[in-house]
């Protein structure tokens, strides 16, 4: 099946940047969402909405066009008791 819309390459680049810099991000941030624009952290906040809002204000990019990633503190096991 083909996708009906195209995701811009800059979005993919920013999305993957966080994976490539996972160790550094986990050393610097704990239990926050980071918003990535142009392959750097544009904002870090407790909520996705806040991280995107701050990053949008800084960069002019639409909030929905800003990849976000949750940076966990240490090792977390998400059980579902």
């Amino acid at each position: 099946m083909e996708k009906e819309d195209t995701v811009p390459q800059w979005y993919w680049d920013d999305l993957e940047w966080a994976s490539e810099h996972s160790t550094e991000l986990h050393q610097k941030y704990h239990d926050v969402w980071v918003a990535i624009v142009d392959k750097q952290v544009a904002a870090a906040a407790r909520t996705i909405r806040q991280a995107r809002k701050i990053a949008s204000q800084k960069t002019g990019r639409r909030p929905e066009d800003i990849p976000v990633e949750f940076i966990e503190s240490g090792i977390v096991v998400y059980g579902q008791n």
Binding site: L15, T23, E64, V68, F70, G74, Y78, Q80, N81
Partner: protein, 151 residues
Amino acid sequence: MARISLQLVSQQVVSPRFGNWPLTVIRLRTRTELRQSGGSYTRPLKAILDTGAPLSVLPRSLWQTLDTEIHVAQATFGGISQRKECQIPCAIGTVHLRLCDEAGNVSRVHDVPAFLAKTDRVPLILGFASLMEDLTIHFDYQKPEAWAEEK
């Protein structure tokens, strides 16, 4: 049959919590697009693909904008500890999502039951129910390669 690339992401953790003994944390990740209340889909988001999670988990800021059917308004879920203070308040509902990758491969839409957390202090997790039961998941950390294929 779409074959969608997955990611094996690793990070080094050195923390006093673990006696400063260096640990390598490896997670299997996918990218997913979620159906919003207007019917369009979000941009791809990264999610942990967790075979140990019966249900998916979505943070509040994310699911509040989605096309979601709520089945249970007040519930909780948690980790290994069953203590009340370790439980995370949530609703239980169904969201609609598809997996995708940078090459343009995309899965069909899956109707996925999920814990809809009432906090953003959780990552986006895709669990087993109504998703992995329909997929073949392959990963080999040494090569490295990982993908999901619909049956």
